[in-house]
Symmetry: C2
Subunit: 573 residues, 2 copies
């Protein structure tokens, strides 16, 4: 029915350069060899290049293979040939052979480097999920009401093969935007948002907000693709923009790419299905039965995006089931401030944070056959590290760092006092215990407790945690034997967080900062203290030291000296 | 002159789906709107879809924007339109909109992630060079005579803008292979090597060789591209296969990509220049003057590849000049065993290693205006860490690890004795000194000397160093307080190297192993000792401990106890 689109014959044209001349430009002709026999081709060449019947000539590939009857049959559309007097005639005139060098489809399906950061049992799968949450956060940033991000693990075999669904009630995508989604490395900084140039809006950088919680976390044009193909083998994007009548759907799959390669079809051509909301008549495969219900939900939702990943790697399925607590907690850590607002998850009864609570609902559910679904709202997770830091701290020291022109970093330090007989600096309940330090002969190790050798700062970029970058300390908050007004232990009672804006670079998988520490420690960086939201130009070192001293005097309920000095109880507090 | 190739008009066809029906399949027609006016287009639509003159209809984009005179002008080739009765008619029949999603060209020019591994003054530029050396090693692996890899830094302004040239006398590339070079993510495992299917040879895995020095270091189809665009902005590949008469040349540049995007030309189309060796008539730009000499060298060389990177980032130029010793030494480290053979760079007079010396010449030269060029042959660099380890060691312990079916790791441990008043375990002369450990009150730190806390093993993959992965130890070579027959210090006197075959995975930039340590420490891994090239199934822990004890007794010329016990001289050795 669409004759004009699919010609019944694949085009077959070759480019022939006449290189027989000793100088001048090679004459170039495009010859259509569709349906030709070799002898006819030779006649055509003779005619086109005015070769007399007595003249000797050869036709060679650009690798100097002579075209004979067999090779002629194998010539493909776009091949370039050299016309020469003999097989060893020098190429006195140069030729320009047209080539194409489309990236291989592995670019899309193998680019997720998450696995290279997984080590010693630490799993990077939650960080792939994070890419999809990032996209949902960006998409819901202009929502009026609640911003819903719904992660559903469809592991009920009676409903189909295992699938991961990430659903949000964000802006959705037009079919053009959905098309753009699939373009590897196309970022918001460079893309057109509409078919019509007149509609073009460039990227507008969001205004600064506290903790850089600006939801502006789409940066490189790779995250979603890397994530879905790290999680599984196939992805269906289903989306509908606000006010639109139609749903747009795009399926990308490894299998499809392989098939296209095998059939020598265009790898990067595909189609978007435009359809009515709720219409699941195209879902015919048993493996995807669960999609009928998902699609049925569309009619109740004005705008949404659903990312449906199938062909989930079995080891991922096993991990997601077995370590449900672990990875959901990790997501609570990554999005702590998005979910809880700028003050974080302060659960202490004295605090009234109702006004700063966010409107972001990240809901995770795991469906298994014949089991009660496991549901958790990320806001309710209360054992992620930031929650532990916040709730065990008694005092905070806020500061700001200005790096070069536009790099802004907000910082917070928290004091975890020594109470009666123990440090209150929280331990990661799931941390892999490091090798127990052998108590070496003749040596008493001080400062086993509190923070120990852990870096002080966790680092957030545009409000979300960059998990593999930490900053150990700054010179102004390091213990110095000579001048410290408080015992070294107090320096081990602080935890901290840094919040950078987008003027700091992160790796494309958002696992590491590029040069945060280097830039922060640059001489030009200016640190100011922040008190009640007001910046104060002060000697940060002095201010910090005073704060620490105050904390120590006010909050530490006992001072413990390790080693030979034993332990002594203060009577003055 | 090539009329058939460049039609004077860009095609402009749109696909119209008739979606007015309430059920059935949408009828699809491709309409050529080239040169049409809007009114004519409407007439055509009416006719093609048999719309009576009284019938109401609208033409919408798939985002439901109505096509009017203005929007009609902006329609592009390939756009899809919906024919509906009214703008709000539901889409009862679904449509398949054809799309294209070619990766953005940033895929090629921004994929080098080397910068994310640069931290605290450590520079990753040598590892970008390493990718080009890897390719040259692969290409020269079948050379009869010497394998020459020539790295030239053309920083003489009188010869043009700064350029980096990597030249090898390897197999060269046919024009098809050169075309393949440019295809991102096309690896040797998947590609066709010739235009003709009958020539197709699949990948043949090389037979095992000692230390896995198999030169088989081309793996992902990304290395060269990542490297050149990390180093500079533009790359010219010039190559000639053995016995061929013609040189093939391909230029890829950021500028060119930007231009093509701006002009809406095919991003991944380009051309290969086929020409006579020595013909530099196409080099017309002042910035590339130095190329005339380089091209003139072609006539004396039967087969070669030259990678010419221009638009070198100024900070790279500065680093390459200022830290010449540092980065050349790092390359000597990465390719230590390729350059020096399986026994490494043993310079001690007692050793006769002439037979195992490799035939690989990596020559580095830096040309600057009015200065004597700086030249170094990587073989002559004698302060790379492997050279230091080898020459300061007195004894070796060789072993092998078999991981699962096919993962093979050769290992070597070296003993660096304590001699009279100091440890001989070599220090990295260029290492950034870590913060001096404050000698804490009441605490004497033991084991400051020797290896200290450094991991034991450096790790080589197919014979070349993977710089950011180390393995700290195995349980059988770790000091255990209870059972150790020698003092803990002896365990700090060993260095080691691991040589894996290609059954271990590395990241695409070859900076880290994926899971070497995890797999090595798997219960199923079998360690055997190797003596004179013979594997021995023994208790590795017992063998190692005995070896260490022997080393200690035979080589340590003094035993030093730190801390309260002071120092004591053995009189029995
Ligand atoms: N849930 C979503 N809702 C709406 N638009 C989305 C959604 N997910 C992705 N997109 C669109 O697709 C684009 C591509 O997403 P992808 O995650 O691959 O890259 P990116 O977010 O642009 O950059 P990054 O590499 O930083 O993730 C996004 O920029 C956004 O425009
Ligand atoms: N110096 C060279 N001589 C001959 N062929 C080369 C040379 N450099 C590159 N090639 C060819 O180009 C291909 C692509 O090189 P590139 O370094 O980009 O990827 P790769 O080497 O295949 O994989 P990797 O990502 O591991 O480097 C190589 O596989 C090789 O066939
Ligand atoms: Mg994203
Ligand atoms: Mg390579």
């Amino acid at each position: 029915k669409n004759v004009a689109q699919t010609p019944n014959t694949i085009p077959r044209k070759v480019v022939v350069f006449d290189c027989r001349l000793e100088n001048g430009d090679a004459i170039e002709k495009v010859l259509d060899i569709q349906g030709m026999e070799f002898s006819e081709f030779l006649r055509t060449v003779k005619k086109e290049f005015s070769i007399s019947s007595k003249e000797r000539f050869v036709l060679l590939t650009t690798d100097r293979r002579e075209i004979n009857v067999e090779r002629f049959e194998e010539l493909k559309d776009g091949n370039t040939l050299h016309l020469l007097q003999s097989i060893d005639q020098a190429l006195s005139v140069s030729t320009k052979e047209r080539i194409q060098f489309l990236p291989h489809y592995d670019t899309l399906i193998k680019s997720g480097m998450y696995e290279y950061y997984a080590s010693e049992g630490q799993k990077s799968l939650p960080y792939a999920f994070a890419e999809l949450i990032d996209n949902a956060l960006s998409a819901t940033s202009n929502n009026d009401g609640v911003r819903k991000i719904d992660i559903r693990l469809m592991f009920d075999e009676s409903q189909g093969k295992p699938a991961v669904v990430v659903l949000d009630n964000g802006s959705g995508m037009t079919s053009k935007q959905l098309n753009n989604w699939a373009v590897y490395r196309l970022s918001k900084f460079t893309r057109e948002s509409s078919e019509f140039e007149s509609d073009h809006m460039g990227y507008v950088r969001p205004a600064p907000v506290p903790r850089s919680l600006n939801s502006d976390i789409s940066y490189f044009g790779v995250g979603g693709k890397q994530a879905v193909f790290y999680i599984g083998q196939s992805t269906r994007m289903i989306t509908k923009p606000a006010g639109a009548m139609d749903v747009h759907e795009l399926l990308l799959s490894k299998e499809e790419f392989e098939k296209k390669e095998k059939n020598k079809e265009d790898i990067y051509k595909g189609f978007i299905l435009n359809r009515m909301p709720g219409d699941s008549s195209h879902i015919t495969h048993e493996d995807e039965r669960f999609l009928h219900n998902l699609i049925a939900e569309e009619v109740a939702q004005d705008h949404f995006t659903a990312v449906v990943v199938t062909g989930v790697q079995p080891e991922h399925v096993a991990f997601l089931r077995a370590d449900f607590h672990l990875w959901t907690r990790e997501l609570a850590h990554v999005y702590h401030y998005y979910v809880h607002g700028i003050h974080g998850n302060d659960m202490r009864p004295s605090k009234d944070n109702t006004d700063t609570k966010g409107n972001i609902d990240i809901q995770i559910s795991l469906f298994e056959r014949l089991k009660v679904p496991r549901l958790v709202n990320v806001r309710e997770i209360s054992n992620d590290m930031q929650t532990l830091y916040i709730n065990s701290s008694v005092d905070v020291f806020e500061f700001k760092a200005q790096v070069e022109e536009e790099g802004t970093v907000e910082g917070i330090l928290r004091y975890h006092p020594f109470l009666y007989d123990k440090e209150t600096y929280p331990e990661d309940p799931y941390a892999i215990p490091s090798l127990p330090q052998e108590d070496e002969e003749d040596c008493v190790i001080i400062n086993q407790e509190g923070r120990g050798k852990k870096p002080i700062f966790e680092c957030f970029w545009n409000g979300r945690l960059i998990p593999y970058t930490t900053v150990a300390e700054f010179d102004w908050c390091t213990w110095a034997k000579k001048s410290a007004p408080v015992p070294a232990e107090c320096y081990n009672r602080i935890s901290g967080a840094l919040f950078t804006n987008d003027k700091f670079q992160v790796s494309t998988n958002k696992l590491t900062f590029m040069d945060l520490e280097l830039r922060l420690k640059d001489k030009g960086t200016i640190f100011t203290r922040v008190v009640n939201g007001q910046e104060q130009r002060v000697k940060i070192h002095k201010e910090f030291t005073q704060w620490l001293k105050d904390c120590h005097e006010k909050w530490d309920k006992q001072i413990k000296f390790s080693g030979f000095k034993g332990s002594m109880t203060r009577t003055d507090v």
